[in-house]
């Protein structure tokens, strides 16, 4: 038997280990998980819009609204920009030829890395704003404003931690993928 036949024989022997039904079930679960995640993002945004929209419409804007509003006005659009422009693979993208897909994926990854930088900058700016606002309320304002300032600081800290925690591994992963796909075009 020559080398090519041996290679072909060895190639054909490889078969999937899981049963097909099990595999299809896992794919459906994965699809459902992705939909749930997207629904959660929409619900959180609607909740924030509802809370601030109601406060604006009824004219009952308290200290916490004033302090938290800049936070949401900046953070939500940035977060949504990242969610919507994330270099998520759309199924249709992968149906093109390998070279076309590689170029498209590179563009998506470049946009994703840029957005991650933007998210990091935004979250640090918001944290700085929260520290200044909290210090200001403790020095100059009454109890209601102090509580709101503290709440803002806590939320800013949580968002900062979350963004850094999620952003670092994501950046590393995208950078590695970027280098690997770029090699495919260069070679």
């Amino acid at each position: 038997m020559n080398f090519d036949e041996l290679m072909k024989g060895a190639w054909q022997v490889q078969v999937p280990p899981a049963s097909q039904e099990e595999l299809v079930r896992k794919v459906r679960q994965r699809q459902l998980r992705l939909r749930l995640l997207r629904s959660l993002e929409v619900v959180l945004t609607l909740l924030a819009v509802f809370v601030f929209g109601q406060a604006l419409l009824t004219g009952r804007i308290g200290p916490s609204h004033w302090l938290l509003m800049p936070f949401f006005v900046v953070f939500l659009p940035v977060a949504w920009a990242i969610v919507l422009r994330a270099p998520r693979r759309h199924a249709a993208d992968a149906t093109g030829s390998a070279s076309a897909y590689a170029r498209l994926r590179l563009a998506q990854l470049r946009a994703g890395l840029r957005d991650l930088r933007l998210a990091r900058t935004a979250v640090w700016l918001l944290a700085a704003y929260a520290v200044v606002a909290c210090a200001g309320t403790w020095l100059l304002a009454g109890d209601a404003w102090r509580d709101a300032g503290l709440m803002l600081l806590l939320m800013a800290g949580a968002f900062l931690g979350l963004t850094l925690w999620l952003g670092r591994p994501l950046r590393r992963r995208w950078l590695r993928e970027y280098r690997s796909v770029r090699r495919l075009i260069e070679e």
Binding site: A10, V27, A102
Partner: protein, 162 residues
């Protein structure tokens, strides 16, 4: 469910082999296969000619495989084999499995552009089909195949793989 989905299921072995060419870790292979199947599921309505289903699903598998980032997972430390406690498999099966394992490990050493053409040829596609799937010229397919085969042959001689 799309009408062609049952046919896609018949192509699972082809998709699995493509996935194995990009990922050596068994758990990650399954993860990547799920990702490929999900993309196939979502893009099936875009397929115009049902006769081109196999190239269509394999193109998706190779595209996702090429941009798949290998994860560094710690391999479990090998446990010494005790023939007294385990059934000893048929030597012919062992040889076939060893060849397959060698082939996929050797494929992983090839650069992506050489690996893709070789995997598609092993799957039974001709030069023209490979050129269409990868978006390269016929001559380029020939050159890459020649190089890929040469490298594997050299590796096989060195290690006694096939």
């Amino acid at each position: 469910m799309h009408l062609l989905w049952p046919q896609v299921q018949a192509f699972h072995p082809h998709l699995w082999r493509a996935v194995c060419g990009y990922e050596l870790n068994p758990a990650m292979r399954e993860e990547l296969l799920q990702e490929v199947l999900l993309a196939v599921w979502e893009s099936l309505p875009r397929l115009r000619d049902p006769g081109m289903l196999l190239p269509f699903v394999l193109r998706i598998a190779h595209n996702l495989g090429a941009s798949h980032v290998r994860t560094e997972t710690r391999m479990p430390s090998p446990v010494p084999f005790d023939a007294a406690q385990h059934d000893v498999p048929d030597p012919a099966t062992t040889t076939a499995c060893a060849r397959t394992q060698w082939l996929f490990e050797a494929l992983a050493t090839l650069p992506l552009n050489l690996r893709q053409v070789l995997m598609l040829q092993l799957e039974g596609f001709d030069y023209q089909e490979i050129a269409d799937m990868l978006g390269i010229t016929l001559e380029n397919v020939g050159v890459r195949l020649h190089r890929a085969r040469g490298r594997l042959k050299a590796l096989s001689k060195e290690e006694g793989g096939l």
